[in-house]
Symmetry: D2
Subunit: 382 residues, 4 copies
């Protein structure tokens, strides 16, 4: 178990520390960062409490700065690296009817150029992954030509991919719906897979655990994409309904366990796997830094349980067609309380045994609430 747990490193997204909400309301909260530096500081605190979050993902333009080299140094001084660069083609008026899929070549070019600018940033931050999530889609039947949009998407991605460096990757994310309400241009793993397969080896898929239709067996997709060599990264979160963006493991811890069983089974934690484990959540009503701490702990805890799976007994039961024993072996791992062991794991590494309590006791929250006064709190708009 320890071996696998030792390999766990999670990317936390800078935007998790800013405000987020629903179309109905965005609640602010004291201490919310106003700058990318403050977001990185908060992320570093998550890492300091847990030892699990050594990388911070950025979102462009929300985290745009003049000097990315300086930002990288700033992060390193705090003990974290800059990670995945996430592009944004959904908040500009030009993108009302699409970005990489837009009928108008000028808008497509603008969206492509934005991605090329992101690659430039990656070169400076030392980031490996360009993650592309597109809001592209249509709200009404007839509004767009499904086939034509798909072809234009392929063209745009090829143009971007041509600029991806030899140590870099293009990661394409899929999502069932929202903000598009009728047709989404990259709605499922099949589409993402077909698109990246055409591009080449350094194009892979991002699986956001909240982006599927009800009833979808997500661990199957994990197993399949790992088998096909195309699972590039996760966006971890959880959901009861749609893309709820709740804390990973909060809605269905057993599902998270099953997903991590397949990650291990498919070699996703092997040294050469390249699989990035990111969070992508919205702490709309709960405290943000503890929310991220809880999230990385949830991943660690379920990974530790998954690592306990007795593969030998499981295989024996599978081979004998003993459904109940196979399931029993599987559940044994899930039902085992690994929290004491993980507390020891932390203690051995000089980390707080109880990161949630340690954060509460750290005074960090009081400090940022006192210091971060004035300015504009970060949110999805910036």
């Amino acid at each position: 178990m320890t071996d696998l747990v030792d390999r766990l490193a999670i990317e936390v997204p800078s935007w998790a520390f800013g405000n987020s909400g629903t179309r109905f309301k965005v609640f602010g909260s004291p201490g919310t960062p106003r700058t990318v530096q403050e977001k990185i500081a908060d992320a570093a605190m998550v890492h300091r409490m847990t030892g699990l979050a050594p990388v911070v993902a950025l979102h462009i333009p929300w985290d745009r700065v003049e000097d990315y080299g300086a930002l990288r140094s700033y992060a390193r001084d705090l003990g974290v690296e800059l990670g995945t660069i996430n592009s944004n083609t959904f908040q500009d008026d030009d993108y009302k009817f699409g970005s990489l899929t837009h009928l108008d070549p000028k808008v497509r070019r603008k969206a492509i150029d934005h991605h090329l600018a992101c690659i430039e940033i990656m070169n400076q931050t030392g980031s490996r992954d360009l993650k592309i999530w597109l809001a592209d889609g249509t709200n009404y039947p007839g509004q767009g030509d499904i086939r034509g949009r798909q072809d234009r998407l392929a063209d745009s991605l090829a143009t971007i991919y041509a600029q991806i460096g030899p140590q870099q990757r293009l990661v394409l994310e899929y999502k069932l719906f929202e903000p598009a309400m009728y047709m989404t241009d990259v709605p499922d793993w099949g589409t993402a897979y077909a698109q990246v397969s055409t591009l080449g080896e350094r194009a892979v898929v991002c699986l956001d655990t909240g982006h599927h239709a009800p009833g979808t067996n997500i661990e199957f997709i994990v197993a399949q994409l790992l088998r096909l060599g195309k699972l590039g990264s996760f966006d971890f979160n959880s959901r009861f309904y749609a893309d709820d963006d709740l804390i990973v493991g909060a809605a269905d811890p057993f599902q998270l366990f099953r997903i991590l069983v397949e990650v291990i089974r498919g070699g996703g934690l092997a040294a050469d796997s390249g699989l990035a484990l990111m969070l992508d959540q919205c702490h709309n009503i709960e405290a943000k830094i503890p929310g991220q701490i809880r999230s990385v702990l949830n991943v660690q805890e379920m990974l530790a349980r998954a690592a306990l799976l007795d593969i030998e007994s499981l295989t024996a039961a599978q081979e004998s067609g003993d459904v109940l024993t196979a399931n029993g072996v599987f559940m044994d791992a899930f039902y085992t309380d690994v929290r004491p062991r993980l507390a020891r794991w932390r203690a051995e590494r000089g980390l707080p045994e109880d990161p949630m309590a340690a954060y509460a006791a750290s005074g960090y929250q009081a400090r940022i609430e006192a210091e971060r006064v004035g300015g504009t709190q970060s949110s999805w708009g910036a």
Copy 2:
């Protein structure tokens, strides 16, 4: 058919003319109203083009004015009435953890008082219905006590209901989820029904067609609530996924047809029915005034088809257990193109035969785009 179509009167919501969007982006558009008066003017234009939308629903506080009597006169001068008053307890920081269900009696009192203020407004606008949609709910298991919240909801509603006048109604809307992501306090028609049944005769249920779980048979709920005497109003819209708030009839016109068949069957269009037919949609990317015109036309068109249903043949087929013939009779009504007849219906009443074309030709859009410059465009915030 004509008889039923003649009875159709739809309430359009003032907020449909303001900007709306998703949590990702709200797109503005030229000509968007800045004031409630401008919203009412737009609504009146919808009525002028279609003869179908004689009432405008208001939302408090978005449509708050000093003098509601003056507003009523203003609307009447434009040919429309003020209708349902919609309360809002989801945009104030105090309501982060609930409103009518909140643990803190001060917050509950504030939410109750808001509704009492709405009743005061109703007294001035001559509105019959107070519509309550609550964003109340929780995002995480354990966050709130489901049972306690339900009990407090009952208490709060009783306090409000006590102030509802003898000619007024309290209309309680239900919704599966959003903005709450784990537990919603009024998630289904059963809860709304149980709550309003306890209150009394003038408490009824609002059915928003986009507020159900996947697979829910909405026309069944329509039939059931009409049978129980508790269907107070509709919020019409359509959806492919969640609460997409698309134009009514756009996603599944056959479903709208089936709903209207049950409305007719259940006496929902009878003179004494009291059933309010409201729109509640978000024109995020399409033009708003034509969007409303298209919406009321869709309801009229499906009602006209539903009115064609040959009940005698249908009943005969049902009685003989002839499934295919019964379904065939049902589909015959749906498949009949009523548009020419409705064009004549309009012509006979001095209305444009083609309201969409008439609006485009009217110059209204160009005029408001020229006139409505400066100020702040209305949206869900105001």
Copy 3:
């Protein structure tokens, strides 16, 4: 914890020991009972291994015998009681288009009479509950009149209810769909609640955990029906998709935990609650007796975890609006491994510490496989 666990008594259904399957295939297995007596013997073995299943529910006509008094004695001799009587109006050709809702009064009368015969059996078996699950519904729009069917259902139920004895209850089950594919006459808890409320105090609702639309918050319904005094019984099972009828807790153990939290919260385990906890599952491919053992253990285990919930800390966190702490307290109970404690609980009561292993070691399976040769294996047909 022990106090609540001590109160747990689960009804196992006789039909769980017979063969079941899908529309594609029913797999048989050696040792499957041929008679109701053999089913009861198997059920008694489940109780002997676990101490959790002292009652066997029967299904009429599948479990029809000449002498129910003798059957009751037979069961008692094996250490179990006869429980809920389940009616069946879905396997006779007459019910092709409905039973209690049928247009033809003769078919309705036949279906009513079947229920009256069930009440007669209850009088002999000493059963308290008549459980009614109806397959009634339609496959095509127009096939039936939704409203008329609902009215006839109400009439039929009233006729049956009139014969329910003072110590007996009528329990009405709801189900979203299947076998009806378009409209089901009792599709949701709201309908079941409205129908039983009209009947009277001894009419209550059965909640089958697999009978809801995707995304439905089942623990909310549990809380609501307990609050309304109308939750009569559970049919426990679990599902990933539709009415999969998998082992309870197998698909989403955390959901089962949440449900049992609300059962405790709502007084469902209080001495006077009257809430019946039944299993209703299909062991299509797994061994049946161990499948039932695993099932009752799952309920016990999740109840034990739910019983650990620290209500005081939870309430304090709720009151302070501390979402993460409230959720943390909630999850603490869920994450605690209660299996060692439950093994001790069993040992203290002279039960096998590991019921699954004890059953495997008991020789029972080999014995029934040797003895139960010839005859017709029980299934849904008999």
Copy 4:
């Protein structure tokens, strides 16, 4: 429009004329075929009434005969051809835990051999397509190794594909769930696409319209698979909930319209397309032959509406970003009543103007009910 309608040829499945049902009950009906010859006769009657169904798909072993050449002649004499051969690896006890994916090489070999036998039959019937729908999957987490099963599936398919003739195709169908309740080995189009892409050019995907998760945009998949050159065939039917297998177009005619728009757009009706349009439905409670007649008429009717789509106006509206006009053009085609035109189309070809009425008047049903007495009615078992 006529041009496209003229190209429409639908395969009806032999098993549609036999009895089918749910796990709860299979209702028989007078006149049901006892032999494959009688099924073909019924299918020929559907073609005689409509001119739309010149091909009959067979299911092995249900339609196994000694002499397939004779069967082919028999069919031709009745005016129809034999079409797709559908394999069956879900009704043998050996397949309880899988077929092409089974852990045991003997069971895999048996399943492979069955498919090779089907290819032999295809050589005799002149069939082009071997359609493979697998019930393979698991009911419980841990029961099987997802990754290993996928690898074995790939191996098995490769062995079968090696025997597919140069004019033949292997068509792989996907399905979300049922009969497997937790993990299905070919659950989505992505998996089917990945598997057939590895095999080669003559391996394609079958899209069954009822085999998707709630909310899935099926016309998107149609467009995507046509774009990728991998859409081999349709299994048409319709659904409100799961794999309901209702008459195509019955649940959501507008969805069928959108699907057929994409079929046309993607060249699916072009002379060289190779796209097979099959029905796959269950007439559980409605009359079977008229059920098939209604089904092919529904496809024709929606195709005729789709053919009316004014592409030029649609494109112009799309290019100008006029969402409402684009949607309006789209809906115009859907709302146009094409039934009179199709009646004329039939009259011009010597077909009955009203096929449903013509069948009722034909005396065919009375004749088969009189003649088909004794024997065993065909069903999924044979």
